[in-house]
Protein backbone atom coordinates (compact mmCIF):
# COMPACT_ATOMS: atom_id res chain seq x y z
CA UNK A 1 0.00 0.00 0.00
CA UNK A 2 1.42 3.41 -0.89
CA UNK A 3 1.34 6.05 1.79
CA UNK A 4 -1.14 8.91 1.53
CA UNK A 5 1.26 11.39 3.07
CA UNK A 6 4.95 11.07 2.67
CA UNK A 7 7.16 13.52 4.57
CA UNK A 8 10.74 13.04 3.51
CA UNK A 9 13.60 14.51 5.57
CA UNK A 10 12.14 18.01 5.95
CA UNK A 11 13.89 20.78 7.85
CA UNK A 12 12.82 24.25 8.88
CA UNK A 13 14.77 26.92 10.74
CA UNK A 14 13.75 30.30 12.08
CA UNK A 15 16.95 32.31 12.02
CA UNK A 16 19.40 30.32 14.14
CA UNK A 17 16.71 28.17 15.71
CA UNK A 18 16.22 24.74 14.14
CA UNK A 19 12.51 23.99 14.45
CA UNK A 20 12.49 20.81 12.36
CA UNK A 21 15.57 18.73 11.80
CA UNK A 22 15.22 16.06 9.12
CA UNK A 23 11.75 14.70 9.87
CA UNK A 24 10.52 11.56 8.09
CA UNK A 25 6.90 10.56 8.42
CA UNK A 26 4.52 8.34 6.50
CA UNK A 27 0.78 8.16 6.95
CA UNK A 28 -1.26 5.38 5.38
CA UNK A 29 -4.72 5.97 3.92
CA UNK A 30 -7.42 5.69 6.58
CA UNK A 31 -4.93 5.73 9.44
CA UNK A 32 -5.33 7.52 12.79
CA UNK A 33 -1.97 8.95 13.75
CA UNK A 34 -1.25 10.69 17.03
CA UNK A 35 1.53 13.26 17.04
CA UNK A 36 2.86 14.26 20.45
CA UNK A 37 5.79 16.12 21.89
CA UNK A 38 6.58 18.73 24.57
CA UNK A 39 5.84 22.41 23.94
CA UNK A 40 8.15 23.86 21.32
CA UNK A 41 9.08 20.47 19.89
CA UNK A 42 7.98 21.46 16.38
CA UNK A 43 4.56 19.84 16.08
CA UNK A 44 2.78 22.92 14.78
CA UNK A 45 5.72 23.81 12.54
CA UNK A 46 5.49 20.35 10.98
CA UNK A 47 1.76 20.84 10.41
CA UNK A 48 2.43 24.25 8.88
CA UNK A 49 5.02 22.74 6.54
CA UNK A 50 2.64 19.96 5.49
CA UNK A 51 -0.23 22.42 4.92
CA UNK A 52 1.87 25.02 3.11
CA UNK A 53 1.47 27.81 5.67
CA UNK A 54 5.26 27.61 5.99
CA UNK A 55 7.64 26.35 3.32
CA UNK A 56 10.27 23.82 4.39
CA UNK A 57 13.88 24.62 3.48
CA UNK A 58 14.92 21.11 2.61
CA UNK A 59 13.29 17.75 2.11
CA UNK A 60 9.95 17.25 0.49
CA UNK A 61 6.28 16.56 1.16
CA UNK A 62 4.34 14.22 -1.09
CA UNK A 63 0.62 13.78 -0.77
CA UNK A 64 -1.55 11.43 -2.76
CA UNK A 65 1.36 10.81 -5.16
CA UNK A 66 1.83 14.50 -5.86
CA UNK A 67 4.75 16.67 -4.81
CA UNK A 68 3.51 19.49 -2.58
CA UNK A 69 6.74 21.51 -2.36
CA UNK A 70 6.30 25.10 -3.45
CA UNK A 71 2.51 24.92 -3.48
CA UNK A 72 0.63 27.58 -1.52
CA UNK A 73 -1.62 26.59 1.36
CA UNK A 74 -4.84 27.01 -0.65
CA UNK A 75 -3.52 24.76 -3.44
CA UNK A 76 -2.79 22.02 -0.92
CA UNK A 77 -6.29 22.42 0.50
CA UNK A 78 -7.64 21.98 -3.04
CA UNK A 79 -5.68 18.72 -3.30
CA UNK A 80 -7.20 17.33 -0.13
CA UNK A 81 -5.28 18.41 2.98
CA UNK A 82 -7.44 20.16 5.58
CA UNK A 83 -6.52 21.42 9.01
CA UNK A 84 -7.98 22.92 12.10
CA UNK A 85 -6.06 25.54 14.03
CA UNK A 86 -4.73 25.31 17.55
CA UNK A 87 -6.55 28.48 18.49
CA UNK A 88 -9.85 28.57 16.61
CA UNK A 89 -9.75 31.10 13.77
CA UNK A 90 -13.34 31.52 12.62
CA UNK A 91 -14.32 34.27 10.18
CA UNK A 92 -15.69 36.72 12.73
CA UNK A 93 -17.88 38.77 10.43
CA UNK A 94 -19.83 35.76 9.10
CA UNK A 95 -22.40 33.52 10.70
CA UNK A 96 -21.72 29.80 11.14
CA UNK A 97 -23.36 28.72 7.89
CA UNK A 98 -21.34 31.27 5.92
CA UNK A 99 -18.15 30.15 7.65
CA UNK A 100 -18.72 26.69 6.16
CA UNK A 101 -19.72 28.14 2.80
CA UNK A 102 -16.16 29.39 2.18
CA UNK A 103 -14.46 25.99 1.72
CA UNK A 104 -17.47 24.80 -0.27
CA UNK A 105 -17.24 27.76 -2.62
CA UNK A 106 -13.47 27.84 -2.92
CA UNK A 107 -12.30 24.26 -2.54
CA UNK A 108 -15.14 21.92 -3.46
CA UNK A 109 -16.04 24.11 -6.43
CA UNK A 110 -12.43 24.36 -7.53
CA UNK A 111 -12.15 20.58 -7.44
CA UNK A 112 -15.45 19.56 -8.98
CA UNK A 113 -16.41 22.65 -10.94
CA UNK A 114 -19.37 24.80 -9.90
CA UNK A 115 -21.86 21.97 -9.69
CA UNK A 116 -23.71 23.13 -6.65
CA UNK A 117 -26.64 25.48 -6.81
CA UNK A 118 -27.26 27.91 -3.92
CA UNK A 119 -29.83 25.45 -2.58
CA UNK A 120 -27.30 22.60 -2.58
CA UNK A 121 -24.83 24.83 -0.77
CA UNK A 122 -27.36 25.54 1.98
CA UNK A 123 -28.17 21.84 2.35
CA UNK A 124 -24.49 20.95 2.57
CA UNK A 125 -23.85 23.68 5.20
CA UNK A 126 -26.81 22.29 7.15
CA UNK A 127 -25.44 18.73 6.97
CA UNK A 128 -22.02 19.82 8.17
CA UNK A 129 -23.47 21.77 11.09
CA UNK A 130 -25.63 18.80 11.99
CA UNK A 131 -22.57 16.55 11.95
CA UNK A 132 -21.02 18.62 14.75
CA UNK A 133 -24.34 19.34 16.49
CA UNK A 134 -24.48 23.06 15.73
CA UNK A 135 -27.45 23.04 13.34
CA UNK A 136 -29.53 25.26 15.64
CA UNK A 137 -26.88 27.98 15.62
CA UNK A 138 -26.47 28.29 11.84
CA UNK A 139 -27.42 31.99 11.86
CA UNK A 140 -25.39 32.91 14.93
CA UNK A 141 -22.02 34.59 14.87
CA UNK A 142 -18.83 32.85 16.04
CA UNK A 143 -18.53 35.25 19.01
CA UNK A 144 -21.71 33.73 20.50
CA UNK A 145 -20.15 30.24 20.69
CA UNK A 146 -18.57 28.48 23.66
CA UNK A 147 -15.03 27.11 23.45
CA UNK A 148 -16.10 23.57 22.59
CA UNK A 149 -18.55 24.82 19.95
CA UNK A 150 -15.76 26.92 18.45
CA UNK A 151 -13.59 23.78 18.17
CA UNK A 152 -16.45 21.94 16.52
CA UNK A 153 -16.96 24.76 14.05
CA UNK A 154 -13.26 24.62 13.29
CA UNK A 155 -13.52 20.88 12.54
CA UNK A 156 -16.69 21.30 10.51
CA UNK A 157 -15.02 23.97 8.40
CA UNK A 158 -12.04 21.72 7.77
CA UNK A 159 -14.44 18.92 6.81
CA UNK A 160 -16.39 21.18 4.46
CA UNK A 161 -13.41 21.07 2.10
CA UNK A 162 -14.01 17.32 1.72
CA UNK A 163 -10.40 16.40 2.52
CA UNK A 164 -8.60 13.08 2.33
CA UNK A 165 -6.38 14.03 5.24
CA UNK A 166 -7.50 16.01 8.28
CA UNK A 167 -4.92 17.47 10.64
CA UNK A 168 -6.46 18.38 13.97
CA UNK A 169 -4.04 20.67 15.80
CA UNK A 170 -4.81 20.54 19.53
CA UNK A 171 -8.54 20.62 19.03
CA UNK A 172 -9.15 19.56 22.65
CA UNK A 173 -6.86 21.88 24.62
CA UNK A 174 -8.69 23.55 27.48
CA UNK A 175 -11.83 21.42 27.20
CA UNK A 176 -13.54 19.48 29.97
CA UNK A 177 -13.57 15.69 30.14
CA UNK A 178 -17.01 15.26 28.56
CA UNK A 179 -16.23 17.81 25.88
CA UNK A 180 -13.08 15.89 24.98
CA UNK A 181 -15.20 12.75 24.63
CA UNK A 182 -17.49 14.72 22.30
CA UNK A 183 -14.66 15.73 19.99
CA UNK A 184 -13.08 12.26 20.08
CA UNK A 185 -16.34 10.59 19.05
CA UNK A 186 -16.61 13.08 16.23
CA UNK A 187 -13.08 12.39 15.02
CA UNK A 188 -13.55 8.61 15.15
CA UNK A 189 -16.77 8.95 13.17
CA UNK A 190 -14.95 10.97 10.51
CA UNK A 191 -12.21 8.36 10.38
CA UNK A 192 -14.80 5.62 9.87
CA UNK A 193 -15.93 7.49 6.78
CA UNK A 194 -12.46 6.94 5.36
CA UNK A 195 -10.72 10.17 6.28
CA UNK A 196 -7.13 9.87 7.39
CA UNK A 197 -6.52 11.86 10.58
CA UNK A 198 -3.43 13.25 12.23
CA UNK A 199 -4.21 14.27 15.81
CA UNK A 200 -1.87 16.60 17.61
CA UNK A 201 -2.63 16.64 21.29
CA UNK A 202 -1.23 17.02 24.77
CA UNK A 203 -4.00 15.16 26.57
CA UNK A 204 -2.56 11.66 26.76
CA UNK A 205 -5.78 9.77 27.54
CA UNK A 206 -7.32 11.20 24.39
CA UNK A 207 -4.28 10.48 22.23
CA UNK A 208 -3.96 6.94 23.55
CA UNK A 209 -7.57 6.04 22.96
CA UNK A 210 -7.66 7.61 19.52
CA UNK A 211 -4.36 6.74 17.84
CA UNK A 212 -3.50 3.56 16.00
CA UNK A 213 0.07 4.79 15.76
CA UNK A 214 2.00 7.39 17.70
CA UNK A 215 4.88 9.60 16.60
CA UNK A 216 6.87 11.68 19.07
CA UNK A 217 8.74 14.90 18.29
CA UNK A 218 11.34 16.36 20.61
CA UNK A 219 13.36 19.50 19.73
CA UNK A 220 12.57 19.18 16.06
CA UNK A 221 13.52 15.51 15.81
CA UNK A 222 11.33 12.44 15.62
CA UNK A 223 12.46 10.17 18.45
CA UNK A 224 9.81 7.47 18.30
CA UNK A 225 7.19 6.12 15.92
CA UNK A 226 5.13 2.98 16.46
CA UNK A 227 2.34 1.37 18.41
CA UNK A 228 1.07 3.74 21.15
CA UNK A 229 1.62 1.31 24.03
CA UNK A 230 5.22 0.64 22.92
CA UNK A 231 5.99 4.29 22.30
CA UNK A 232 4.93 5.51 25.75
CA UNK A 233 7.24 2.93 27.33
CA UNK A 234 10.15 3.98 25.14
CA UNK A 235 13.05 5.18 27.27
CA UNK A 236 13.76 8.26 25.20
CA UNK A 237 10.11 9.33 25.26
CA UNK A 238 9.85 8.92 29.00
CA UNK A 239 13.02 10.94 29.45
CA UNK A 240 11.74 13.74 27.18
CA UNK A 241 8.49 14.01 29.10
CA UNK A 242 9.43 13.31 32.69
CA UNK A 243 13.14 14.00 32.71
CA UNK A 244 15.89 11.79 34.05
Amino acid sequence: MTALLHVDNISKRFGGFVALDGIDLEVQPGERLGLIGPNGSGKSTLVNCICGTLQNESGSVRFDDQVMDGLAAHQRTHRGIARSFQLPRPFHSMNLADNLRIPLLYTVHARLGPLRSPGDLDTRCGELLEMVGLEKKAKQMPRDLTQVEMRKLELARAMAAEPKLLIADESMAGLSHSEIEDILTLLVRLNERGITIILIEHIMTAVMSFSQRLAVLVSGRKIADGKPEDVVRDEQVVRAYIGQ
Binding site: T53, A72, H74, R89, P90, H92, S93, I102, R157
Partner: protein, 317 residues
Protein backbone atom coordinates in the same frame (compact mmCIF):
# COMPACT_ATOMS: atom_id res chain seq x y z
CA UNK B 1 -33.05 41.89 -5.85
CA UNK B 2 -30.82 40.82 -8.72
CA UNK B 3 -28.08 42.85 -10.32
CA UNK B 4 -30.15 43.88 -13.34
CA UNK B 5 -33.04 45.14 -11.22
CA UNK B 6 -30.62 47.02 -9.00
CA UNK B 7 -28.93 48.64 -12.01
CA UNK B 8 -32.30 49.69 -13.43
CA UNK B 9 -33.35 51.23 -10.11
CA UNK B 10 -30.00 53.04 -9.75
CA UNK B 11 -30.29 54.36 -13.30
CA UNK B 12 -33.83 55.48 -12.48
CA UNK B 13 -32.63 57.35 -9.39
CA UNK B 14 -29.77 58.80 -11.43
CA UNK B 15 -32.23 60.09 -14.05
CA UNK B 16 -34.38 61.62 -11.30
CA UNK B 17 -31.35 63.45 -9.90
CA UNK B 18 -30.54 64.63 -13.40
CA UNK B 19 -34.12 65.78 -14.05
CA UNK B 20 -34.11 67.67 -10.76
CA UNK B 21 -30.79 69.32 -11.62
CA UNK B 22 -32.05 70.27 -15.06
CA UNK B 23 -35.26 71.70 -13.60
CA UNK B 24 -33.21 73.71 -11.11
CA UNK B 25 -31.12 74.96 -14.05
CA UNK B 26 -28.37 76.07 -11.69
CA UNK B 27 -24.76 75.70 -12.79
CA UNK B 28 -23.67 75.67 -9.16
CA UNK B 29 -25.71 72.52 -8.50
CA UNK B 30 -23.73 70.74 -11.22
CA UNK B 31 -20.43 71.98 -9.76
CA UNK B 32 -21.26 70.84 -6.24
CA UNK B 33 -22.99 67.66 -7.38
CA UNK B 34 -20.01 66.66 -9.51
CA UNK B 35 -17.72 66.79 -6.47
CA UNK B 36 -20.09 64.71 -4.35
CA UNK B 37 -20.52 62.13 -7.13
CA UNK B 38 -16.75 62.01 -7.56
CA UNK B 39 -16.42 61.21 -3.89
CA UNK B 40 -19.05 58.48 -4.19
CA UNK B 41 -16.87 56.83 -6.83
CA UNK B 42 -13.66 57.32 -4.81
CA UNK B 43 -15.18 56.11 -1.54
CA UNK B 44 -16.74 53.08 -3.23
CA UNK B 45 -13.44 52.25 -4.92
CA UNK B 46 -11.55 52.66 -1.64
CA UNK B 47 -14.06 50.42 0.09
CA UNK B 48 -13.49 47.51 -2.32
CA UNK B 49 -9.97 47.19 -0.92
CA UNK B 50 -10.27 48.90 2.46
CA UNK B 51 -13.72 47.82 3.55
CA UNK B 52 -14.15 44.40 1.95
CA UNK B 53 -10.54 43.17 2.27
CA UNK B 54 -9.46 45.25 5.26
CA UNK B 55 -6.41 46.79 3.57
CA UNK B 56 -6.25 50.52 4.36
CA UNK B 57 -5.06 52.43 1.33
CA UNK B 58 -3.70 55.94 1.95
CA UNK B 59 -2.82 56.41 -1.70
CA UNK B 60 -6.22 57.32 -3.14
CA UNK B 61 -4.83 60.66 -4.28
CA UNK B 62 -2.16 58.88 -6.32
CA UNK B 63 -4.67 56.81 -8.29
CA UNK B 64 -6.98 59.80 -8.69
CA UNK B 65 -4.10 61.93 -9.93
CA UNK B 66 -2.95 59.17 -12.27
CA UNK B 67 -6.39 59.26 -13.86
CA UNK B 68 -6.31 63.04 -14.08
CA UNK B 69 -2.80 63.16 -15.52
CA UNK B 70 -3.59 60.42 -18.04
CA UNK B 71 -6.23 62.82 -19.34
CA UNK B 72 -3.77 65.71 -19.38
CA UNK B 73 -1.25 63.59 -21.27
CA UNK B 74 -3.84 62.57 -23.87
CA UNK B 75 -5.05 66.17 -24.13
CA UNK B 76 -1.55 67.22 -25.16
CA UNK B 77 -0.79 64.13 -27.20
CA UNK B 78 -4.03 63.46 -29.03
CA UNK B 79 -7.30 64.88 -27.63
CA UNK B 80 -10.02 62.25 -27.26
CA UNK B 81 -13.58 62.37 -25.93
CA UNK B 82 -13.82 62.08 -22.14
CA UNK B 83 -15.51 58.64 -22.04
CA UNK B 84 -12.47 57.24 -23.87
CA UNK B 85 -10.17 59.08 -21.46
CA UNK B 86 -12.04 57.47 -18.57
CA UNK B 87 -11.31 54.04 -20.01
CA UNK B 88 -7.64 54.88 -20.58
CA UNK B 89 -7.34 56.15 -17.00
CA UNK B 90 -9.00 52.99 -15.73
CA UNK B 91 -6.37 50.90 -17.49
CA UNK B 92 -3.43 53.03 -16.30
CA UNK B 93 -4.60 53.19 -12.68
CA UNK B 94 -5.63 49.53 -12.75
CA UNK B 95 -2.13 48.51 -13.84
CA UNK B 96 -0.55 50.65 -11.11
CA UNK B 97 -3.03 49.16 -8.61
CA UNK B 98 -1.98 45.68 -9.68
CA UNK B 99 1.69 46.65 -9.31
CA UNK B 100 1.07 48.14 -5.89
CA UNK B 101 -0.71 44.97 -4.81
CA UNK B 102 2.11 42.82 -6.07
CA UNK B 103 4.84 44.85 -4.39
CA UNK B 104 3.09 45.09 -1.04
CA UNK B 105 1.99 41.45 -0.79
CA UNK B 106 3.77 40.83 2.46
CA UNK B 107 2.67 44.04 4.11
CA UNK B 108 -0.35 44.24 6.34
CA UNK B 109 -2.01 46.79 8.59
CA UNK B 110 -0.19 50.06 9.10
CA UNK B 111 2.80 48.90 7.01
CA UNK B 112 0.56 48.54 3.98
CA UNK B 113 -0.94 51.99 4.66
CA UNK B 114 2.53 53.56 4.87
CA UNK B 115 3.59 51.87 1.62
CA UNK B 116 0.58 53.29 -0.23
CA UNK B 117 1.28 56.75 1.16
CA UNK B 118 4.90 56.42 0.03
CA UNK B 119 3.75 55.44 -3.45
CA UNK B 120 1.66 58.63 -3.62
CA UNK B 121 4.72 60.72 -2.72
CA UNK B 122 6.88 58.97 -5.34
CA UNK B 123 4.29 59.48 -8.08
CA UNK B 124 3.80 63.13 -7.12
CA UNK B 125 7.55 63.71 -7.37
CA UNK B 126 7.56 62.08 -10.80
CA UNK B 127 4.73 64.27 -12.06
CA UNK B 128 6.31 67.45 -10.63
CA UNK B 129 9.40 66.69 -12.69
CA UNK B 130 7.59 65.69 -15.86
CA UNK B 131 7.52 68.77 -18.03
CA UNK B 132 5.27 67.36 -20.75
CA UNK B 133 2.23 67.29 -18.43
CA UNK B 134 3.06 70.68 -16.95
CA UNK B 135 5.45 69.72 -14.15
CA UNK B 136 5.12 71.87 -11.06
CA UNK B 137 3.75 74.77 -13.16
CA UNK B 138 0.57 72.83 -13.80
CA UNK B 139 -1.36 72.51 -17.03
CA UNK B 140 -4.32 74.34 -18.52
CA UNK B 141 -7.13 72.44 -20.14
CA UNK B 142 -9.35 74.51 -22.38
CA UNK B 143 -12.81 73.06 -22.40
CA UNK B 144 -15.64 74.11 -24.67
CA UNK B 145 -18.49 76.15 -23.17
CA UNK B 146 -21.23 73.94 -24.58
CA UNK B 147 -21.51 70.33 -25.56
CA UNK B 148 -23.74 68.76 -28.15
CA UNK B 149 -25.08 65.26 -27.53
CA UNK B 150 -27.74 63.66 -29.72
CA UNK B 151 -28.85 67.01 -31.07
CA UNK B 152 -29.15 68.45 -27.55
CA UNK B 153 -26.93 71.38 -26.59
CA UNK B 154 -26.04 71.42 -22.91
CA UNK B 155 -23.55 73.24 -20.74
CA UNK B 156 -20.22 71.45 -20.51
CA UNK B 157 -20.47 71.22 -16.73
CA UNK B 158 -23.77 69.39 -17.11
CA UNK B 159 -22.04 66.94 -19.44
CA UNK B 160 -19.34 66.29 -16.85
CA UNK B 161 -22.01 65.88 -14.19
CA UNK B 162 -23.79 63.25 -16.28
CA UNK B 163 -20.55 61.36 -16.87
CA UNK B 164 -19.76 61.30 -13.16
CA UNK B 165 -23.32 60.22 -12.40
CA UNK B 166 -22.92 57.25 -14.75
CA UNK B 167 -19.57 56.40 -13.17
CA UNK B 168 -21.11 56.50 -9.69
CA UNK B 169 -23.90 54.14 -10.75
CA UNK B 170 -21.40 51.75 -12.34
CA UNK B 171 -19.14 51.83 -9.28
CA UNK B 172 -22.01 51.19 -6.86
CA UNK B 173 -23.44 48.37 -9.00
CA UNK B 174 -19.99 46.76 -9.22
CA UNK B 175 -19.42 47.02 -5.47
CA UNK B 176 -22.83 45.57 -4.73
CA UNK B 177 -22.36 42.69 -7.17
CA UNK B 178 -18.98 41.85 -5.63
CA UNK B 179 -20.42 41.95 -2.13
CA UNK B 180 -22.95 39.23 -2.90
CA UNK B 181 -20.72 37.03 -5.02
CA UNK B 182 -18.15 34.37 -4.30
CA UNK B 183 -15.54 37.11 -4.70
CA UNK B 184 -17.17 39.13 -1.91
CA UNK B 185 -17.12 36.15 0.45
CA UNK B 186 -13.45 35.64 -0.40
CA UNK B 187 -12.66 39.32 0.27
CA UNK B 188 -14.37 39.06 3.66
CA UNK B 189 -12.23 36.07 4.64
CA UNK B 190 -9.12 38.10 3.84
CA UNK B 191 -10.38 40.83 6.15
CA UNK B 192 -11.21 38.37 8.94
CA UNK B 193 -8.26 35.96 8.89
CA UNK B 194 -5.92 35.43 5.98
CA UNK B 195 -4.34 32.25 7.32
CA UNK B 196 -7.70 30.60 7.91
CA UNK B 197 -8.79 31.75 4.45
CA UNK B 198 -5.85 29.98 2.82
CA UNK B 199 -6.61 26.86 4.85
CA UNK B 200 -10.15 26.93 3.42
CA UNK B 201 -8.77 27.07 -0.10
CA UNK B 202 -9.16 30.80 -0.78
CA UNK B 203 -6.40 32.03 -3.12
CA UNK B 204 -5.78 35.15 -1.03
CA UNK B 205 -2.99 36.54 -3.20
CA UNK B 206 -5.08 36.44 -6.38
CA UNK B 207 -8.08 38.01 -4.64
CA UNK B 208 -5.95 40.80 -3.17
CA UNK B 209 -4.61 41.59 -6.63
CA UNK B 210 -8.16 41.67 -8.03
CA UNK B 211 -9.12 44.09 -5.25
CA UNK B 212 -6.15 46.43 -5.69
CA UNK B 213 -6.63 46.46 -9.47
CA UNK B 214 -10.38 47.13 -9.35
CA UNK B 215 -10.04 49.71 -6.62
CA UNK B 216 -7.24 51.51 -8.45
CA UNK B 217 -9.12 51.44 -11.76
CA UNK B 218 -12.22 53.08 -10.29
CA UNK B 219 -10.14 55.76 -8.56
CA UNK B 220 -8.46 56.49 -11.88
CA UNK B 221 -11.83 56.74 -13.61
CA UNK B 222 -12.97 59.26 -11.01
CA UNK B 223 -9.90 61.34 -11.78
CA UNK B 224 -10.11 61.26 -15.58
CA UNK B 225 -12.64 64.10 -16.10
CA UNK B 226 -11.10 66.18 -13.30
CA UNK B 227 -8.81 68.36 -15.48
CA UNK B 228 -11.83 69.28 -17.63
CA UNK B 229 -13.84 70.07 -14.51
CA UNK B 230 -11.24 72.29 -12.90
CA UNK B 231 -9.65 73.75 -16.05
CA UNK B 232 -6.22 74.09 -14.49
CA UNK B 233 -4.45 71.19 -12.83
CA UNK B 234 -1.28 71.16 -10.76
CA UNK B 235 0.33 68.33 -8.76
CA UNK B 236 -0.61 69.88 -5.40
CA UNK B 237 -4.31 69.86 -6.21
CA UNK B 238 -4.42 66.48 -7.99
CA UNK B 239 -2.41 64.74 -5.25
CA UNK B 240 -4.26 66.64 -2.50
CA UNK B 241 -4.41 65.08 0.93
CA UNK B 242 -8.16 65.64 1.01
CA UNK B 243 -8.74 62.84 -1.51
CA UNK B 244 -6.93 60.30 0.63
CA UNK B 245 -8.56 61.50 3.84
CA UNK B 246 -12.07 61.83 2.40
CA UNK B 247 -12.07 58.47 0.69
CA UNK B 248 -11.16 56.85 4.01
CA UNK B 249 -13.48 58.97 6.16
CA UNK B 250 -16.57 58.57 3.96
CA UNK B 251 -16.79 54.75 4.09
CA UNK B 252 -15.85 54.85 7.79
CA UNK B 253 -18.71 57.20 8.55
CA UNK B 254 -21.19 55.30 6.41
CA UNK B 255 -20.01 51.79 7.27
CA UNK B 256 -17.38 49.72 5.47
CA UNK B 257 -18.98 46.30 5.16
CA UNK B 258 -21.67 47.27 2.67
CA UNK B 259 -21.86 49.24 -0.59
CA UNK B 260 -24.41 51.57 1.05
CA UNK B 261 -21.84 52.80 3.59
CA UNK B 262 -19.61 54.73 1.17
CA UNK B 263 -22.70 56.10 -0.61
CA UNK B 264 -24.27 57.45 2.59
CA UNK B 265 -20.92 58.70 3.90
CA UNK B 266 -20.06 60.53 0.68
CA UNK B 267 -23.43 62.22 0.43
CA UNK B 268 -23.37 63.32 4.07
CA UNK B 269 -19.77 64.42 4.28
CA UNK B 270 -19.63 65.71 0.70
CA UNK B 271 -22.70 67.90 1.17
CA UNK B 272 -21.48 69.20 4.52
CA UNK B 273 -18.17 70.16 2.91
CA UNK B 274 -19.85 71.89 -0.02
CA UNK B 275 -22.08 73.79 2.38
CA UNK B 276 -19.12 74.82 4.53
CA UNK B 277 -17.10 75.88 1.48
CA UNK B 278 -19.83 78.29 0.39
CA UNK B 279 -20.91 79.62 3.78
CA UNK B 280 -17.75 79.60 5.88
CA UNK B 281 -14.52 78.84 4.04
CA UNK B 282 -13.01 76.06 2.00
CA UNK B 283 -10.34 75.57 4.66
CA UNK B 284 -12.98 74.25 7.07
CA UNK B 285 -13.34 71.10 4.91
CA UNK B 286 -10.70 69.00 6.57
CA UNK B 287 -11.74 70.21 10.02
CA UNK B 288 -15.23 68.87 9.39
CA UNK B 289 -13.81 65.54 8.23
CA UNK B 290 -11.60 65.28 11.28
CA UNK B 291 -14.34 66.12 13.75
CA UNK B 292 -16.84 63.75 12.14
CA UNK B 293 -14.28 60.94 12.02
CA UNK B 294 -13.49 61.34 15.72
CA UNK B 295 -17.19 61.47 16.57
CA UNK B 296 -17.97 58.35 14.56
CA UNK B 297 -15.07 56.34 15.91
CA UNK B 298 -16.47 57.00 19.39
CA UNK B 299 -20.22 56.78 18.77
CA UNK B 300 -20.51 54.35 15.86
CA UNK B 301 -17.31 52.43 15.11
CA UNK B 302 -19.12 50.43 12.43
CA UNK B 303 -20.51 53.52 10.75
CA UNK B 304 -24.11 54.56 10.27
CA UNK B 305 -24.97 51.23 8.64
CA UNK B 306 -23.54 49.38 11.64
CA UNK B 307 -25.61 51.58 13.97
CA UNK B 308 -28.82 50.85 12.05
CA UNK B 309 -28.09 47.10 11.88
CA UNK B 310 -27.50 47.05 15.63
CA UNK B 311 -30.84 48.73 16.27
CA UNK B 312 -32.62 46.32 13.91
CA UNK B 313 -31.06 43.28 15.56
CA UNK B 314 -32.07 44.49 19.00
CA UNK B 315 -35.63 44.96 17.78
CA UNK B 316 -38.08 47.66 18.83
CA UNK B 317 -37.88 48.58 22.53
Amino acid sequence: MNALKFSLISIGIGLLVLAFAHWLGLDYFYFAGYTILQFIVLATAWNILGGYCGYVNFGTAAFFALGAYSSVFMYKFYPLPIPVLILISAVVSGIVGFGMGYLTLRLRGSFFAIATLAMAVVLQTLVINWDYVGGSRGAYILRPEKMEIAGLTINYIEYLFVLMLILAVVALATARTIERSQLGFGFATIRDDEMAAEACGVPTLRLKLIATTLSGAFMGMAGAPFPYYIGYIQPQSAFGLEYAVNSIAMPMIGGTTSWIGPLVGSILLGSAQQYATVTISSAVNLLIVGLMLVAFVIIAPNGLIGLVQKRLRRGPP
